[in-house]
């Protein structure tokens, strides 16, 4: 892993909402062609971390470096134009727009002409055929899994270097979740760096290269996915010494 592979580096990040500091000390790295998974319980600060990386929330302390440059106060829409594409949790597609409109809007940041975007849309249809079949229907008419694929397709339209996915498996049936995970995995091959936030620990560990676990706004565990043990993970999840569930589970 050479240093020039590094896409995104987050160091000692602090962020939150107003005076509610949710994230106190988070560090992580994403490299091109790899998947970094960010794990942690509910309310640990995962989504807030992503919001700070993408510029939706202000950074109170620490640093976010993207492509070797400090991002500082760069506004969200500029970060998208620099190749940072974020799929928010809860399948946030535009429900009132059609699938094709959603995808076109996904390519907005590339500043391409509509004709060029329509070609790019075709590629997405090849990757997610179901989207092509329903192209002129409103996004609200699709099922949860399809909307998730649309959201990912929309993010890909921006020709990103870094793809950030917030709980793509949330609320999906196991079979569909598996399909989504496979799709995400196959994206690695294109050289894309992926930052994945997940609740589904096992499934996401299987496709990840790097793991970072958050607890109460701090990175409590980080390292290569291949070396993680369940015990380590539970300890990182439920706090340090008095981790009752970890003990229970280990029995």
């Amino acid at each position: 892993m050479t240093e020039e592979n590094i896409l995104l580096e987050v160091e000692h990040l602090q962020t939150g909402y107003g005076d509610l500091k949710v994230v106190r000390d988070v560090s992580l790295t994403v490299r091109s062609g790899q998947i970094t998974v960010l794990l942690g319980r509910n309310g640990a600060g995962k989504t807030t971390t992503l919001r700070a990386i993408t510029g939706l929330n202000r950074t109170y302390g620490g640093e976010v470096r993207y492509l070797g440059k400090k991002l500082g106060e760069t506004v969200a829409h500029r970060r998208v134009a620099q190749g940072m594409s974020y799929v928010q949790e809860g399948k946030r597609v535009f429900h009132e727009l059609t699938i094709e409109q959603n995808l076109l809007l996904g390519g907005f940041s590339t500043k391409s002409k509509k004709r060029a975007l329509l070609e790019a849309v075709q590629e997405i249809y090849e990757f997610f055929p179901i989207l092509g079949d329903k192209r002129s229907l409103p996004a609200s008419s699709m099922s949860g899994g399809q909307q998730q694929m649309l959201a990912i397709g929309q993010a890909l339209m921006a020709k990103p270097k870094l793809l950030i996915l917030d709980e793509p498996s949330q609320g999906l049936a196991p079979a569909i979740m598996k399909e989504v995970m496979e799709r995400v995995h196959s994206l690695k091959a294109t050289g894309l760096g992926i930052l994945l936030v997940e609740q589904a620990v096992q499934e996401s560990l299987e496709i990840s290269d790097e793991v970072s676990v958050l607890d109460m706004g701090r990175t409590s565990l980080a390292g290569p996915a291949s070396s993680m043990t369940l015990e380590q993970l539970q300890e990182a999840y439920f706090g340090t010494s008095e981790s009752v569930p970890a003990k229970q589970m280990a029995e």
């Binding site: 509910n42 043990t229 993970l233 589970m249």
Partner: protein, 607 residues
Amino acid sequence: MLALWLKIRALPTWALPLLLGIVLLLLPSLGMNYGMTRQVILTLLLALIVSGLNLNLGYAGELAMGHIAMYAAGAYTAGLIGKAGITEIWVQLLVGALAALVVGLVSGVPGLRLGGWSLAMTSFFLILLIPDVLSIFKESTGGRNGLTGIATPTLFGEPVTENQYYVLVVVIAILWFAFMRNVVVSRHGTAFQVLKQSPVLASSLGISVFRMKLSAYALGAIPAGLAGVLFANLDMFISPEAFTFTVAMTVLAASIFGGSASVYGALVGAGVLQFGLNQATNFQEYGLIITGGFLLFGGVLFSGGIAGVGQKIVRKLDYKAAEQAGRSKGSSAENAVADVEVLQGANLSVQTVSKAFGGNKALSQVSLEAKPGAVTAIIGPNGSGKTTLLNMISGYYETDEGVIALDDLQIQGQPSYKVARSGVSRTFQTPNIPKNLSVIEAVESGRYSTQRASILQAVFRTPKFRRIRREDRSEAQRVLNLVGLGSQLNADADSLPLGNRRLLEVARSLIGSPKVILLDEVASGLDEDELDVLADLILRLREAGLTVVIVEHNFQLVLRLADVIYVLAQGSVMAHGAPAEIEKNPRVMEEYLGIVSDSDGTSLVGA
């Protein structure tokens, strides 16, 4: 300098305005000429209408310009009954105010259900209709030509002289402003502030948003009606010209400039617009531009108006004086931890409740039981329906099916303010604390619906009102001591640090002697010490017999506090039981960790 300030502050707040009133009364005998007298009268009439608008805009938080229609109603009522021979001014004032009140109620009932832009536009439209309505009844109103031949008003049968009329106007203005001041400086004023800034919070405190807004609107009709009567008798002539859109804009500009959320700001605003501008040369030409400028820049630059600026200065001086007097935080920090009295909890039972938004099932067949003297915790991943469930219990959403009951009382389908009055109180994920309230006022607002004292009782400061006010104080002090904020009674509630704002919310939810208390992620953002205070408090509330429901992410805290834990996943209860059982439940761990629990603790991947 500060010593002088302290002396001024030692006077009651109504002393200065009363002094102003007395000076105004004496002005004619000091040789004020006719033109000047007329200006003062017109200023006071404008101030009355502005004051009515302020109750609405500044306190209830709705922009409704119907006051010009109420003003017209008062004026034409007085003109018509004056022509019919009823010239006694007291009778006219009474009838005029009633007529304005009727207009207020009739236009307010539909208008206030809408709120926001719809209400504003509807009420502007009302002004547009004034000349049409007058024209329809032109036989009696004179239509667009105006109503002439109004008889000279009488007082106890004697015709009123010019000087007497001046005194009359000043006295009525003094009376109204005393009335307004007594409403605003009371629990009702605090309730209005709460309502304006957060209707959601208001209803969780048992305040009926609609009724409260309507009463502000209706009360505001009174000064507008009085002003109308006084206006009709000033020139003995009225025409639709006096009730135009432009006049409405002047009223609004005066309100914004003087400060809508203040009692005496109306006088300042009316004074500036009536005196300052009318004296300026070329007012006719530039009048509209200046009025517009007041609205535009008043709205952008100082949202509190002149009064807002004044209030800020007063607060700053108060703070400095307090610092100098050595009454700063540290010295009075003796935090007597109060005892919790015995509380009468109620059994909260949720039976097979379901809720869908559009096609999404948010909750399906959820059943839950929270007992008095126990802490019931609800946990679950994001989007599992925890907050939805809480919102259903407090009546913000209607249930699609199922029953929610407090002991034997079914509360599903009740509006939230009624649920609150039945004894369910709550805190919010993001602390919901109105601006410009002190800590103790913010907490007292939680008693608004449990102990009632009507607005009229506040106006006349009746013994009952005084007793309730004393109880509000002592109860607020008590619950603030419970949460450890007892030493910060007069601090600005909204600018407390996050942890203290959460504790303040807990105090506010306790003051109304609830039967059930719902705490929504009350621990998030608290530091260790605050967490200990909170945990200790929750346990003491449980001892005291309250029904406590917590929604919480902090698993450690839940294990420490809860008697029963319910785990929600994708809208239904996945497991429930004692903490020890939940800990061992493999499915819960799976939901939380997403790990299949038969794993043997070795490497998870690459196998």
